[in-house]
Amino acid sequence: MTAQQAGERDATSAPGGDAAADPLLSVRNLQTHFFSREGVVKAVDGVSFDIKPGEILGIAGESGCGKSVTSQSILRILPRNGKIVGGEILFNNGDRTVDLATEEADGRVLRDIRGKEIAMIFQEPMTSFSPVHTIGDQIIETIRIHQDVSKEEARDQAVEMLRRVGMPNPVRNIEEYTFNLSGGMRQRAMVALSLSCRPKLLIADEPTTAVDVTIQAQMLELLRDIQADLGMAIIMITHDLGVIAELTDRVMIMYLGKEVEHGTVEDVFHRPQHPYTRGLLASIPKMEPGRVEIEPIEGVVPSPYAMPTGCKFHTRCPEYIAGVCEKRDPPLTAVGPGHEVSCYLYGGREELE
């Protein structure tokens, strides 16, 4: 599927993706910093986005851009030295809206949301399960944490979920350990684990990074099927723009903890505005006849302890405007309906004067 098609699907068939619906999750100016002896790393430094029920949002960027930290912040499963220092994470939990950013990290409210309302898929399926417990044990455990059902009933649900994700022999697979399963089966088991309570939002953090391309393709197909089936919203976090084009409705591009551009997949991929987005798209190898030169982005990612001032990308930007870009963070500027860019090329300069 091309970006073009993905864009069309957004307009026509995304379930619940209409503009009128209230956002399921609304992240406002999120700031997550890591504190260590070497200093403070501003892993996420003012990120905002909304996701509506049933929508698929992609978050893309290089390693270290803060996309995974964003997802860990939502579920409050940050490493010990990571802290949310500002912003809101408003989750519409049916009858009331909770701010996940200010709730107690392992408190009742978050524990009830984790796994039930918001679930997460992680990068490596092998290590997502405890090696000394069966996959069934862990799926049944999740179901019984969140639902008041008997062991047998939870087991039936688990078997059903394993069947739904395409495990070949769910009744037997439920008794198996991860080391008995193939890579593809592990992926499916992991999806079954995260979907066991039918969450409203699924966060997939690089689920296709550690697997080979055939399993990656299966995974994307599975996610698409399951999404059509259960109708949950998905946040797809990846550095792979191909995956974004395949799966998502909208995309947000991040660079060094900042949002640089967001919009529909069609807008961002076909009409990229930010020099960083353009650079990213130009650096993808293409499968066209003849050799097309890949154009990598110049320079290197700055050290997290010595962040550039102003626009974080100005040290590598081919369209750097001296005396402007390093002054202050460029504000988000609308360049089209639902398409915003954080770059002085498109506005915001008047505020500097």
Binding site: R114, G115, T142, Y177, S194
Partner: protein, 328 residues
């Protein structure tokens, strides 16, 4: 599982034989034999030894014969339960061991329990509260525990107990209970004495276990399956006990086997200081005085204990870790 156990048991047979050969050779290695040292001892006391006695002793134990014949004779007797005769104690070896092994065993077992009961929770605390005041405190205590010799601890323990309570805790029973029939009163008396040696013998083991537990748990805690469980809504306590602890404890289980003989060894000096009727001082005596049958028997028994302990560890490990079950 049954095949796994059976295979382990079969492997134990050649190892047992090897232990017996090595034990026997080492005991035989010093020049002379126990008869000559026995006679030397008696003559030093001014006794006159009849040559017939010497000859009959030598003949009885086949001391004039080649080593392999002696070995074979000893092994055949050993298998039949005749462990020979101790020259220093002038008693059959079986009787000495039967008297001493139970107290050794009780102290070791109690030490082992104390090691676990104290070491595991502190190890967990140290890992979950890494770099906290508690962690640093237990680290210092732990290193002191490893570095302080047992006999010194025993002396300090004796002194402290005396200065606080005025009683001298020597032996396993109070003098008036020494010959009493075993009952509740005697058992309580035993408990009031045994905790000190058990604690002292277990100190080094506890300190080591704290470090091992801490390191293992620190390895497991940041693993992805823990984060995934957290992201599923698992409670923090269960997050610790059900998953990482279960895996962190595996190496501990696999060391239970060889902890037992280590504890018996650790008893030697403590037993001497505290006057305990354990097997350890007997082993020391028998080695110094070339009491061949006694020494070899004790070494054999310790060797077999190690093997049985290892077998138990292996079985336990296979029960708790499916990866090991899967590999056999």
């Amino acid at each position: 599982m049954l095949i796994y156990i059976l295979r382990r048991v079969i492997v134990m047979i050649p190892v047992t034989i090897l232990i017996s050969v090595i034990g026997f050779i080492i005991i035989q290695a010093p020049p002379g034999d126990f008869v000559s040292s026995y006679i030397a001892g008696l003559e030093a006391q001014g006794d006159i030894i009849e040559p017939e006695l010497i000859d009959s002793l030598r003949a009885r134990y086949g001391l004039g014969e080649p080593v392999y014949v002696q070995y074979w004779r000893w092994v055949s007797n050993f298998v039949e339960g005749d462990l020979g005769y101790s020259m220093i104690y002038r008693e059959p070896v079986v009787d000495i061991i039967a008297q001493r092994l139970p107290s050794s065993f009780t102290i070791s077992l109690l030490s082992l329990i104390l090691v676990f009961v104290i070491g595991i929770p502190i190890g967990i605390l140290s890992a979950t509260k890494q770099y906290s005041l508690a962690d640093y405190t237990f680290t210092v205590i732990g290193f002191l525990g490893v570095a302080t010799p047992n006999f010194l601890l025993a002396l300090v323990g004796l002194w402290l107990l005396f200065s606080w309570t005025g009683t001298v805790s020597i032996g396993l029973y109070s003098p008036e209970m020494q010959n009493a029939p075993f009952g509740l009163a005697k058992f309580l008396d035993l408990l009031s004495h045994i905790w000190l040696p058990a604690l002292i013998v277990g100190t080094a083991g506890t300190a080591e276990l704290i470090r091992t537990m801490r390191a293992n748990l620190l390895d497991e805690l940041p693993k992805q399956y823990v984060t995934v469980a957290r992201a599923r809504g698992v409670k923090p306590t269960k997050l610790l006990y059900k998953y990482p602890l279960r895996i962190a404890i595996n190496p501990v289980i696999s060391t239970v086997g060889w902890l037992l003989p280590v504890l018996v060894e650790g008893e030697v000096l403590v037993s001497l200081v505290l006057g305990l009727p354990t097997i350890a001082p007997v082993l020391l005596d028998s080695l110094m005085q070339q009491d061949m049958f006694l020494a070899t028997s004790i070494i054999m028994i310790l060797g077999i204990l190690t093997l049985v302990g290892t077998l138990l560890s292996d079985i336990l490990l296979a029960i708790v870790d499916p990866r090991i079950r899967g590999a056999v």
